[in-house]
Point group: C2
Chain length 503, copies 2
């Protein structure tokens, strides 16, 4: 860790949306903070034919639009470091000319041999580009480090993930590969680690003795927008649970690591994923609920259903909502149900982990059974909320549930870096803590395969419809045992049948 | 419990300050809320000769000044229920004429035989009035209940407390006697019970395994004002610790009661007081610190020292500050030090219980050893504050201590009744939960006697001076073991040598 070495940053898929909206603003923000090294260059590459100037023009426009820092004064300095080269991703000679281009930059800027390759491309290229780079000798680290960042998804099922893993490891070392999961770049996800392991008061409670169940909700209010074509090949389970939410669950559930070294933390995350109790095919119907949003009216505005979206088949069975109940079979969590719920066209955009604590062993006062909750809000309004019982002022001993909260925005002098900024910075330092290791990805796929296969093959498992703007199919409520407990609903239903959203 | 019976409320010492400032406003507030019964009368009694009208006039004036409700419209209705009779406290015939007076009121208002006697008198009368009432037959409950409320102090040491107890119990039953401790009437003190016993998350932590030490601070910024004469016979230990603060400590430390019935709660409080480890005379010097405020300048204003106060001897050894370290020898608290600190002319007025939790068993991050504290604020701004570690936004894993808090004022629609209002209401209902039982008072005296005796007899135990507006003698800091821990200072020093107070 420590200082960042001089390097060239190569972005494949440089003409795409992610580059404009996330990667360039993140790199520029690092630049204005003086976190990038003195000598570095940025090389965009994609199929499109651009001159350097044309590419710089497009970046200039997007930086002015998506700048995350307050500082606009250094945009021209930054842009002077940007270059462009067109590339045919499946043609080896293209990589040789890329190499030539890199050598020119290395010489003119006096940069050593450190190169970062960011694969902001369609997923099928994750198997092709690293191999081609290797064939062109661009994986060799004798003159400096070579690293690649791969975006999600890492495979589409267990088989393809294993195949991709094998392919990558033929020519690259595991420690050269950074599988980005932008969820892990979020402050509040990292704060989960700190909250759990820096406080004497939380860790004693963090186990089966005192926790009744754990809920992870990640809701989006938007639909699939223009990504219908991609989403048809994915669905909520692959798009959110396989990567982001199982990682969040693992960080919530992990044992204390022996240190904060990346390998120590990632070992503990892996152990959780290895301890997931497999869901048997015959239990899928009971323990996993899938749904698809239907057309609806929200605040008087007509919203189309998923099957009417652009690029979506009119008889699509792709789930836009998934809720799952599962167990972690280890000493800490034996018998404690975990619930994950995610969906599109829900009433609000919110991601949170809710620890539902057990109630007191004896009820002295009449009180709410579920009055002790720790809510770790990941987005929006990142922060932490503790619900607990206090005395209602006045005679007698009435209990009411009150909230104490802490908002990250309260430490207002500190800017919260974007997830991409944090992750790019870490990867440049060679810190892989917040990146998924291939074993983790494989374990997550292993866990989800029975569900994916049952959904595909078992016609008896229903795909429930839910009106856009509601909290998904009502059947998801029945996942949670007992009458006393329920999902936390950060706001009510948004569709005109329900109530408007209030956080 | 439940509804309040028709009754006559007799206040002895009716011409005093407490009657005007606290008792009448509390009774009036109950009246406007409709909590007093349909038929009741209020009879003031003291040495002064008043007509009913003159007494009513004085109450009218003070009610307008000290009214705690928003409602001024019912003052005349309330005052119409007030009567007055002069009394010679040590003359039996006076009580016979009081009895006659009561009979007249009973008949004209058609009130049964329920009578409450509130002794708002100098303490030496606590032994005289109840005996006289009994001689006049006013302790007999055959025609309705008879109850007495006694203000503090209950005795001046173990011997006098035992004597007073014996005297009272000769003619009255324990359950007829309400020893008022206005601290126990405070919402936040009662809320301690609710916070501890209605939350699954607090009770598992509430023991020697997770609590490092407990601190109870009760600071006053004022001096002895006009009460120098009384204070000379008392001092901080008798005035605050013997009653209020040992009760607060006992509620903080008590085992869960079997129910919220008064006797169940009071049994548990008594058990704590019985478990206090006696402080040996030879340990008084080490474990108890006494101080007396000296003249000083606060915000440019000269403040006189205690020995210059009116009614105070120029060579007085009365302590205006006391800090004490002690242990509760039971299974829950073995080895956990408790600290109580109280004083006059400290930088601010604040009373709070601070639970200092143990740190994590291993430090993954560089963090403050004492970053987990639960502050239960009794006054002012009643509420609760949790200090804990969270991640500093940005790269790496820096920990910073942040606060979550809950202020009673946030439940703003609910008015918090004054301590006297709550206690008078409870006593009228016959609920003795928040009153001290004679065994409790005796146990507290037992615990404090070695200190009082050593202070009196051992010339080697210093009385430290401290400048008015500071947190007492610095020697009090050394009571707390180790370098890492310290008293919580809700604000800094107020004297001109220090820093102004910021809460």
């Amino acid at each position: 860790m420590g200082k960042i070495d001089n390097h060239i940053y190569v972005i494949f898929g440089a003409s795409g949306d992610l580059t404009k909206r996330k990667l360039m603003p993140a790199l520029y923000s690092l630049y204005v903070q003086g976190l990038l090294p003195e000598r570095f260059a940025l090389l965009g590459a994609s199929r499109t034919s651009f001159t350097n100037e044309a590419f710089r023009d497009s970046i200039r426009i997007s930086l002015n639009e998506f700048n995350e820092s307050d500082d606009f004064s250094k945009i021209e300095d930054f842009i002077a470091k940007i270059f462009y080269t067109p590339i045919e991703f499946d043609v080896l000679s293209s990589y040789h000319s890329l190499n030539n281009q890199l050598n020119v930059l290395r010489e003119s800027f006096k940069i050593g041999g450190n190169i970062f390759f960011y694969l902001s491309t369609p997923p099928h290229l994750y198997g092709i580009i690293p191999g081609m780079l290797a064939e062109a000798g661009l994986n060799k680290q004798d003159d400096g480090w070579k690293r690649i960042i791969i975006e999600k998804p890492f495979g589409n099922d267990l088989e393809s993930a294993n195949k991709l893993k094998k392919l990558l490891l033929e020519t690259w070392e595991e420690n050269q590969i950074y599988r980005i999961d932008h969820y892990l770049g979020k402050e509040t996800v990292q704060n989960l680690l700190v909250t759990r392991f820096s406080n004497g008061i939380f860790e004693p409670l963090w186990n089966r003795n005192y926790i009744h169940h754990v809920e992870i909700t990640s809701a989006e209010s938007i639909g699939v927008e223009k990504r219908g074509g991609y989403y048809e090949t994915s669905g909520a389970l692959r798009d959110m649970i396989q990567n982001h939410l199982l990682q969040v669950a693992a960080i919530t559930a992990m044992e204390p690591p022996s240190s904060v070294e990346p390998v120590a933390i990632r070992n503990e995350i892996l152990k959780v994923l290895q301890s997931l109790r497999p869901i048997k095919k015959e239990d899928v119907k009971k323990n996993v609920i899938r749904g698809q949003y239907l057309s609806s009216t929200i605040k008087g505005q007509k919203i189309i259903g998923y099957r009417e979206e652009e690029g979506v088949s009119p008889d699509s069975n792709t789930e836009t909502f998934a809720a799952i109940k599962f167990y972690i079979d280890n000493w800490r969590w034996g018998g404690v149900p975990f619930y994950i719920r995610t969906g599109k066209r829900l009433p609000t955009r919110v991601t949170e982990v809710v620890i539902h604590f057990r109630s007191t062993p004896h009820f002295l006062f009449s009180q709410d059974l579920n009055n002790n909750q720790l809510v770790i809000r990941i987005q929006p309004d990142e922060g932490i909320l503790l619900k607990f019982g206090m005395k209602t002022p006045g005679a007698g001993f009435e209990v009411q549930t009150v909230n104490m909260d802490f908002h990250y925005s309260d430490i207002s002098e500190l800017r919260i870096p974007s997830a991409y900024e944090r992750l790019i910075y870490d990867s440049l330092k060679g810190d892989s803590t917040l990146f998924a290791r291939s074993e983790e990805v494989i374990e997550a796929w292993k866990f989800l395969m029975p569900i994916l296969e049952s959904w595909k093959n078992d016609p008896e498992i229903p795909l429930y419809g839910y009106p856009a703007g509601t909290w998904g199919p009502e059947n998801a409520d029945e996942l949670i045992d007992g009458n006393e407990f329920a999902w936390r609903y950060p706001c009510k239903n948004l569709s005109d049948d329900g109530i408007y959203c209030e956080l």
